[in-house]
Structures are given as structure tokens and as C-alpha cells.
Symmetry: C2
Subunit: 266 residues, 2 copies
């Protein structure tokens, strides 16, 4: 059984600033520090943990970029953490709570899983030669027993031959790629649009043709820019919402959260 780490382990292979980051995060969470409360000053943290200011500032920077604290010249570092999401929970969380956090039951049924020569349009998206073998799958995602999203995805077979004969029922594609194939998605691009359900979509999603649906297109990339996956998903409009939390940092906006009612990390 591990005891809670309360000091820096100078013999650990984990960087000091990373240890301090975790320490401070725990402190904020477990001591229930509320918004506006002060963190110890940088020099205090230096003395307290016996580390240099570089380490302290590196840890604080990570905390700030996660939106947990806010640093102010001449004043200090204040906790800002739960504030925004709390305010949200009170106001906007209504018909579709954040189910990743609340652990609502999700299920996936595989409608189709085949290896095909890549269609031209998909080939250009995935930057493949036409006819290159790809895994093509159609899946239907359920939340709490209700069909929520219909997903069509394409993955180049050569990237992960093991994918050809794996059963992805109730399994995450990303997790499979990462653990079994050693493939790590490094960036992604997603486009959201509004649409109306066609006959087939309506039948699967158990809604009426013409009912509003959210169309989500996604391309995921490896570190070097190689496309890994393209998917096209249609979400029931009446059961889906996308939530985005932004924070201004150094003249930029930074993503704090990107909540999706249905788990999209296939």
C-alpha cells in the first residue's frame, strides 16, 4: 500500500517538477481549496520542498495550463479550479450530463467489420493510394440502452494488421491501437455540422427521418502527420451536445475541457 507522497523523492526517476505538480494537485483536491484561495508563494515552495525556483515554476506552469490555478504578478497564485465547471453544472447541465464522469453505461455493437480496397474519397483523406486495404467498420453506440451514434470508420490495414480480426464490440479502438499496435494518436481534427437523419440513420438511431442529427467528421494523426483514422459519426440531435471550455492564456485560448455526451474515443 502506498502512502501519500508529501515530499519530493530525490531518487525517483520522475522529474521534481512533475512530482510537485502532483503534490499540489492532491493538495488542492484533498484539502478542498476553493477558488480564490492562495497557494504558497514560489519562494516558500522552494524552501518547503528543498528545490529550485525553476522546478517550482515548471510545476505551477503545468497547473496553470490546466486551468487549476492562476498566477498574478505581484500577488501570487490562486486556485481557480472547480469554479467554471461548477458554475456550469448548476446552469447548463440538464438533459445530458457528462457521462464519462458519471460513468453511464455505454455499449457498442459492431454492424460491420471488413477489409476493403479504400474508396477514392477516403483514400485522399487518409493520404493513401486508391485501393489500399483499409479496415471499414460501422458501429452503433448506445448510452443507457439508447442508440446514440452511428459511426463509420476507416483505418489503413498496414498500420495495424491485427485490427483485421479483432472484435471491437464494447471496446475502444484508440485503446486497442495504443496497447496492441503501439500506435499513439498525437493530433486530431474534428468538424461538427448539423444535419437531418436519412432513412438508414433514422432506423438505427430509432428516430424519424428528417430529425436533427449532429454530423461529426474526424481525422486522427500520428506524430509525423500520418493519418491514422477517418471516421464519420451521426449523433442523435436530441441526445447529444458538445461542450467546450476555453481559457485565455498568454493571448491565446486554451482548451480546458472537451466533453462529449457519448464517448468518441473509439
Amino acid at each position: 500500500m502506498q502512502k501519500m507522497m508529501k515530499t519530493i523523492d530525490f531518487h525517483s526517476y520522475i522529474p521534481y517538477y512533475r512530482q510537485l505538480y502532483s503534490l499540489l494537485k492532491d493538495t488542492i483536491a484533498k484539502q478542498g481549496l476553493k477558488s480564490g484561495q492562495m497557494l504558497p508563494s514560489e519562494s516558500e515552495l522552494c524552501q518547503q520542498y528543498g528545490i529550485s525556483r525553476t522546478v517550482v515554476r515548471n510545476a505551477l506552469q503545468d497547473l496553470e495550463s490546466e486551468g487549476l490555478i492562476r498566477r498574478r504578478k505581484g500577488k501570487g497564485s490562486i486556485v481557480t479550479g472547480p469554479k467554471i465547471s461548477e458554475g456550469l453544472a448548476q446552469t447548463l447541465t440538464g438533459f445530458y450530463q457528462d457521462m464519462a464522469e458519471r460513468g453511464l453505461a455505454t455499449r457498442t455493437s459492431v454492424l460491420l467489420h471488413e477489409t476493403i480496397p479504400c474508396p477514392g474519397k477516403i483514400a485522399s483523406i487518409l493520404n493513401l493510394a486508391p485501393q489500399t486495404p483499409v479496415i471499414h467498420s460501422n458501429r452503433l453506440r448506445y448510452v443507457e440502452g439508447e442508440p446514440i451514434a452511428l459511426v463509420t470508420s476507416y483505418v489503413p490495414l498496414q498500420l495495424c494488421p491485427a485490427l483485421e480480426h479483432v472484435d471491437l464490440t464494447d471496446r475502444s479502438l484508440y485503446e486497442f491501437l495504443e496497447t496492441t499496435c503501439g500506435i499513439t494518436i498525437m493530433s486530431a481534427n474534428r468538424v461538427l455540422e448539423s444535419s437531418s437523419a436519412d432513412e438508414s440513420q433514422a432506423r438505427h438511431l430509432e428516430i424519424e427521418p428528417g430529425d436533427p442529427v449532429m454530423k461529426l467528421e474526424s481525422i486522427s494523426y500520428l506524430e509525423d502527420g500520418t493519418p491514422v483514422e477517418y471516421f464519420l459519426a451521426f449523433h442523435r440531435g436530441d441526445r447529444t451536445r458538445f461542450e467546450i471550455n476555453l481559457m485565455r492564456v498568454r493571448d491565446r485560448w486554451r482548451l480546458l475541457g472537451w466533453n462529449q455526451p457519448v464517448d468518441l474515443s473509439f
Copy 2:
């Protein structure tokens, strides 16, 4: 007329790392460095510009967090910049290009601008006492002459009394708040949903009732968490798409871009 800055100005009030950041960004853009090309090493940059490694690393960190470069231990820093967005432009940019960058003509007409006692639901969202005076406005946003979005917004009057008698036609609310009232939005929360146009929305957006629309709710906050603005916008489904670029950094996802076909920084 300014000449292009090619060295660090040691007398400037702009931090060195910020100057170097801009310098490198310009270099990447103007020399057309392509994905995979190497940046000078950190020690080379130190010598070249006569600055310490701390400054160099600070600049590189900013570039990396923007997704322009990628640093690799033992190897160096490589440019990764345009890659993803280029891949996108080839594939997904279709019926609605990024108009912020392309400078498409946008126009805003103010349908309503009044001071009212805050309705109960809005009051709870903005964390106000009921009946507190708020600026209530309805605006219709056009792009290239077409009506695209219908926006209803609420701003507490006390935050910016000057707002009561200003004409926001073709003017950004955020810009007004920042320059005239000294109010800076520090964070925001946005929720996207699919919906169908009702009678009134359809009339303004020049579509048919029942046609798909995107519903966008937003709450903006000051640094201390004080809500500044609530708005509810309905976008024409056939003319709107939301694009999100994500990048994994240090076990987190970071926002690279959040493109909206219609400027939402009111």
C-alpha cells in the same frame, strides 16, 4: 515603415523570449519551412541571438504549444506547423471555408437593444439577483450577404454602463468590452447542440421552419469567475460548421484551433 526584426532588441520592453518566438514564427512562415525540417539547435539559437538557453526554451515551448514545432530529445526541434491544417484544407474544407482567415465580408444588424430586468433563468446563469438590469440584445449576423446566425445575448448593465447606449451594428461586443470598459474575458464555456428552426428563426435566417440549425450557448467569465455574458445563438445548419484541432501534449489534449464559420467574438 518597419523593417523586419532580425535580431533581439535588448532595449525593448517586449521579453526576449517573446521576440524570439515571433522571429522564429516569421522564419518558418516566410522561408516556407516545411514539415520535418529542423530548427537550429537550442545552443545555436543561444549563440546566434546572444541570449541564454532559458529564453530560447521559453520561446520554443510557446511554439510547441501552438503546434508549430515538435521537440525531440536527442534529435532537435522540427517544424510540424502547416501539416495538419494543410491536410485539412485538401480534404474537408468544402462548402464553408475558414472565413476569418479569408476575410469574408461579415455584417451584423441589431434587431433589438434594450435594458431589462433580468429574467429568472438568465439571472441564475449570470449569477445575478433576479430583476437586476441587463442589456438584452438580438442580433442577426450575415456572411457575404447571407443571414447566418441569430444571436440573443445578455450582459449585466453594472459591468459596463456605457453599453446601454452604444450601437453595436457591425461592431464586436468583446472588442467594445475590452477597449471601452476595460473588461477582459478570461474564460468561456460553450455548448453546441443540434436543433430545428422554429417559425421566427426560420424567417430571420431565410430558411424553412424545421430546417436543421446549430444551437450554441455560451457563458463568458472574467478572471475571477464573474459571468460577463450569456448568449444563445442559432446558426443555419447548411452554412455552419465548427472545426476543432486537438493535439496531445504531455498527456493532455491542447486546442490548436477553434474555427467558426461565423465570427462569434461579438
